[in-house]
């Protein structure tokens, strides 16, 4: 099974090297890969129908519980068959649709990688690998949607799709981690057995929200739906593949996969019903306002996804059956219509539905395919669409919630979907052939055969619903944790309320088709409401975010060293100050302090005076001398408090520094007065507070007990082991000898640097360049 998933990726890598030989007539051979995979997965149908679940496990990162576990059950099977089956037709179709395209090999590469990712997604039983494949579908679909990379709208749509679905992917990762925290495993099968524990957990709602976030973004649910119409900028085979059978169904798959784990609670079902309901009605109505064939199909796709989410939300066995059938229905008719649209676009060079008519005169097989699909999409008997619609109505009318409202919503949706199907499938193929497209010709076989095959299947499954009942629907419902024994798909359900609703749908929908013609007037009418659509709100938000982040960056990263320093200091002051004020008791044990002598007070005063003088003097030289005074005061403190080595070092180093400073800097001019009083006061206050905090901190630390263990160790062993009596020296040259050696090398590097800088002479040209300024 791993091989099956990797085939797509391997083929895609293979094309990187062998792509040149693959662009011509050979390109149709690419379709052998999905065909082979389809056959491979098809052989499992019988075993799955008998209730078997096929699992393959490969170790990946066992130490984190992340393994490649693939599980083929009823749910996965339907999706794998759709991915590979429709994939086969799309691969074949593309070889003609993009014939002679410069980057045909690249296109196949993306498509194959995408197929591999989708297969991995629907087969993964481990949440981390599920997430990985989920992201891979986002990434490979980014390349597919942006395939026409010279067109700006195309690139923008690709970015939008990647952005929206990518965010969803991150939410899925968060959900994985959360569930792993609750259950201690990444395996979805194991989570299934711990369903109660997850539902009882206080963070159950968060997990549901995260899963919803992932599914709704991927499956284009309101208000995240807008990336899908944008993604129509892609070549039509991509739209066919992504939107009828694969990418957008991934969200549906995720919801179905997690239904047995998370479902059954109010928050799960109600949210799905509301979101699905809004999405299906909102976008079904939107189809009326489109004139681009692909636009109509895009919105009807969103609407169909809304219906699926809605059905999952209903959460009854009937609803699951309806959803299973509707996935098949939708995949068949939507793929057909997309392929037909591609043919129209390819042959007649327009997708404007107001200009299309009478094409059946030049391309009859295509017309038949389209009309069959329209029948299925409208739910007219004897298509599988009719079976699906009956089941949907049946499931809705048995829901325990506000039935009237839901029935109204679903019937309205179905009416508009029927309208959309008719506009896309029937209108271009009836009536008189207009002048503008009269030169359109019959496409070749590999283009018209796939839609005709799919369209015919839609009717065939309707006439013989047992073809999908046993192998597909029953195992799928079983995978959702329901008992599939009672399921019987039938074309004829007898006279009942559902049939009445069907009749109303078909009647009103057909009437709507004849009354309401797609026009530019309607399209521009909806355009006026664009400013409150989620898409423009998101765009405004993005613009605002960009502005805010650049403002933020410019404020903190402004290139002035002192601003960085003051930010760091301010932050430290605030954090440390907050903790100290809140938690510390300022207690000083005066008895434990060392007694003051008069000489120490004088030294301290000299040091403080030195610091003040260094800061306030206007002469560089005076500042340097004052620094020398500070250094020597510190030197005296070392003398008073038993550190003769330090005193000697400090004395010599300080003297050296002063000499160096004077030698090097005496030529420089006086300080310029570079800042005004306000800034100085502000900086002064900031540094004063910092100084106070450091002093207070030091006193606080003194109140803590001290551990002298290390010091005692050195003191005890200095003579016995290292034969030296000055303990400090012994530490430096013996115990920590290696450190000292490295220190010496650092010093030598500094010395080399100093030497180099002193000796470096500027070239005449460089000197002139700077003097010009």
């Amino acid at each position: 099974m791993l091989t099956a998933i990797l085939t797509g990726f391997l083929f895609s890598v293979f094309l990187v090297f062998a792509g040149r030989f693959f662009k011509g007539k050979l390109s149709i051979l690419a379709s052998l890969i999905p065909l082979g995979l389809f056959v491979y997965f098809f052989q499992f149908v019988n075993r799955i129908a008998n209730g078997e679940v096929i699992t393959r496990s490969y170790e990946w990162v066992p130490s984190f519980g992340v393994n490649l576990v693939f599980k083929l059950d009823g749910l996965s099977l339907l999706f794998t068959l759709m991915i590979t089956g429709i994939g086969f037709l799309v691969f074949a179709y593309t070889s003609s649709y993009l014939k002679g395209h410069k980057y045909l090999d690249r296109f196949y590469g993306y498509l194959a990688a995408f197929m591999g990712a989708m297969l991995g997604l629907v087969l993964s039983d481990n949440m981390i690998s599920l997430f990985t494949f989920w992201e891979l579908t986002s990434i490979s679909s980014f390349f597919l949607i942006g395939f026409k990379n010279t067109s700006r709208p195309s690139r923008k749509s690709a970015m939008m799709a990647l952005g929206i679905t990518g965010i969803g992917g991150l939410l899925l990762l968060a959900a994985s981690l959360l569930f792993n925290n609750i259950t201690g495993t990444y395996s979805i099968s194991e989570m299934l057995s711990m369903s109660e524990a997850i539902k009882g957990n206080q963070y159950y709602w968060l997990g549901v929200v995260l899963i919803f976030g992932a599914a709704f973004t991927k499956s284009a649910q309101f208000p995240f739906h807008f990336w899908l119409p944008g993604a129509m900028k892609a070549p039509t085979p991509v739209s066919t593949y992504l939107h009828s059978a694969t990418m957008v169904k991934a969200g549906i798959y995720l919801l179905m996969r997690f239904t047995p784990v998370l479902g059954g609670e109010d928050i799960w079902n109600t949210t799905l019903i509301i979101v699905g309901g809004i999405t299906m009605l909102y976008s079904a109505v939107h189809t009326v306002f489109r004139t681009d064939l692909k636009g109509i199909l895009a919105y009807s796709t969103i609407s169909a996804l809304g219906i699926l989410v809605f059905l999952i939300g209903l959460g009854t066995e009937e609803a699951y059956v309806a959803a299973a059938v509707f996935i098949i229905v939708h995949a068949l008719y939507k793929a057909t219509l997309f392929l037909v649209t591609g043919i129209i676009d390819h042959q007649a060079h327009t997708r404007d539905v107001t200009k299309l008519a009478g094409l059946n005169k030049v391309m009859l097989p295509v017309g038949i395919a389209a009309i069959l699909a329209a029948i299925s999409s409208g739910g007219i008997p004897p298509s599988i669409g009719f079976v699906g619609k009956e089941l949907i109505y049946d499931a809705t009318s048995h829901s325990e919630l506000v039935v009237i409202l839901l029935i109204t919503a679903i019937v309205l949706t179905k009416i508009f979907l029927l309208y959309a199907g008719f506009v896309a499938g029937i209108k271009p193929f009836t009536g008189k052939l207009p002048e503008g497209i009269s030169e359109a010709r019959m496409p070749n076989f590999v283009m018209w055969a796939p839609p005709l095959l799919l369209g015919t299947l839609g009717i065939l499954f309707g006439l013989m619903p047992f073809l999908v009942e046993g192998p597909i629907v029953k195992p799928l419902v079983a995978a959702l944790g329901e008992n599939p024994e009672e399921i019987h798909l039938r074309l004829w359900h007898g006279f009942n309320m559902v049939l009445v609703l069907s009749a109303i749908t078909i009647g009103v929908g057909t009437a709507l088709y004849f009354i309401l013609k797609p026009s530019y007037k309607l399209e521009s009418a909806i355009g006026k409401l664009e400013f409150i659509s989620p898409e423009s709100i998101l765009k405004k938000f993005m613009a605002g975010f960009k502005w805010a982040s650049s403002y933020w960056t410019r404020f903190f990263q402004n290139g002035y060293l002192r601003n960085y320093v003051s930010m760091i200091i301010l932050f430290t002051v605030l954090m440390v100050g907050y903790v100290m004020l809140g938690k510390t008791r300022f207690v000083i044990d005066y008895n434990s302090l060392t007694k003051l002598t008069i000489s120490e007070i004088i030294v301290a005063l000299v040091l403080i005076a030195g610091v003040c003088y260094t800061i306030f003097t206007r002469s560089r030289l005076a500042a340097v001398v004052a620094m020398g005074v500070i250094g020597w005061s510190i030197c005296l403190i070392f003398v008073f408090y038993s550190a003769p080595d330090l005193a000697m070092t400090q004395f010599s180093i300080d003297t050296l520094t002063v000499i160096l400073f004077v030698l090097v800097l005496y030529k420089l001019p006086k300080y310029l007065n570079l800042s005004d009083v306000k800034i100085r006061i502000r900086d002064g206050i900031l540094s004063a507070i910092f100084g106070i905090i450091i002093a207070a901190l030091a006193l606080q630390v003194l109140a803590e007990p001290v551990n002298n263990e290390i010091g005692n160790y050195y003191a005890d062993n200095a003579y016995l082991e290292a034969h030296g009596k000055n303990v400090v020296n012994v530490i430096l040259v013996d115990f920590r000898g290696a450190d000292t050696m490295i220190e010496i090398s650092v010093l030598s590097i500094a010395a080399i640097g100093v030497f180099g800088l002193m000796k470096l002479r500027l070239k005449m040209s460089d000197r002139n360049r700077y003097q010009d300024k």
Binding site: S642, A698, Y714
Partner: protein, 117 residues
């Protein structure tokens, strides 16, 4: 004395930070040196100060027996003093060099790498 030392440390830090916030390169170096001195004193103080008993083993003994100053902070500070000298000398020469090349001591005029800015 500890309170006095803490006060001195505070003054050194405050002065150092103040100098670092100035626009002059030379003042920046002075600021760094002041903070360095403050840090040395801080380590010294936190290692607890002891009067008149350096960590030197008397000629006739093998180990230190009486109370003695902790040698570890002293070793640390010694290293720090020497290293900061390396830093200071390099920085001073660098300032000098920068001044000969770009004729300014003002950091704000140095914050662009482009020639024509």
């Amino acid at each position: 004395m500890e309170i006095l030392l803490a006060l001195m440390i505070g003054v050194l830090y405050a002065g150092g930070i103040y100098m670092m916030l100035r626009r002059s390169l030379v003042k920046l170096i002075i600021g760094i040196i002041l903070i360095g001195n403050g840090a040395n004193l801080l380590i010294f103080l936190l290692g607890r100060i002891t009067k008149g008993s350096p960590p030197i083993i008397p000629g006739d003994a093998n180990v230190l027996t009486e109370a003695f100053a902790d040698p570890v902070p002293q070793a640390l500070i010694l290293t720090a003093i020497v290293i900061s000298f390396g830093l200071q000398s390099f920085a001073i020469v660098l300032v000098k060099r920068a001044h000969t090349v770009v004729k300014t001591d003002d950091l704000d005029e140095m914050n662009a790498t482009d020639e024509d800015s």
